[in-house]
Symmetry: C2
Subunit: 149 residues, 2 copies
Amino acid sequence: MIDMAELRQRFSERQYKLTPQRQIILQAFIDHQDKHLSAEDVYTIVRKQSPEIGLATVYRTLELLSDLEILQKLDFGDGRSRYEINETNTPHHHHHLICLSCGKVKEFEDDLLETLEAVIARKSRFKIVDHQVKFYGYCRECQEESDDP
Amino acid sequence: MIDMAELRQRFSERQYKLTPQRQIILQAFIDHQDKHLSAEDVYTIVRKQSPEIGLATVYRTLELLSDLEILQKLDFGDGRSRYEINETNTPHHHHHLICLSCGKVKEFEDDLLETLEAVIARKSRFKIVDHQVKFYGYCRECQEESDDP
DNA sequence: ATTAGTGCAAAGTATTTGCAACAGT
DNA sequence: ACTGTTGCAAATACTTTGCACTAAT
């Protein structure tokens, strides 16, 4: 899914370099596909291999990777930005289900939003290029817990 | 739409007081129904009538009003939280269309999301209580501008 | 040589908190 | 009196920036 050669290509097209630091940061996302990592999360992971890396570098790399649309920036309202690999190639989108009780974030595959995007584009003349959908509620586990007396 | 008597009721139920400061802050939202005000925005507006008010009070009030579900907290990714009056009573939801070029935020009325919520609830056993949907794209004006040579 | 990239420390911005004073019941 | 509320200042949390140094072409 992530092709380093193709990435290096995408970097050099815009005269960016795929430095060791940037590779290691990317690797962190590859090793944690299902997670939504914050800058601090990435910093912690990455320092295991590269203890001299700076937090500013992490922030700058995350911004760069978002600009290159390799990562997608997310916001779950916990005061920090989170990132995940942007699978633009795959046609199915996923939404995030955020549990108000335990804070966990689950993914939900769906492409009903495509329909909605089309409706909006037609009615509002807005040219939509991306969307972000968050559902807030209670996950199964937390529902079961609150059922107990 | 906003009934002060009903509000005072909702406050006192939980032994909160509808203080002058809180009323003035609420009034700011009533006077700017179509806007998405940040804490700083509210602070600026409110100081015209009440110059001695503190920014911390604004923050605390916004949090309280969100807890009481009188306001809804929004996030447009510009680094600050924004708020709008939460029209829970009205059945139609609206989504936000964020222009990537000029940054303006438009509203779009729709309730197709209800369908999606039902699907998710069934498939994932997640009990959904709220959602937030953002569409990113280019507004009509900015599209027209970029058409020009 | 030139230009991009890095680490560190400092600065910036948004938000929260501790606390003494205050207000309403 | 009691308890919630306020304003101020200080603290915190996340992120960005200035700068000298390094690495890669």
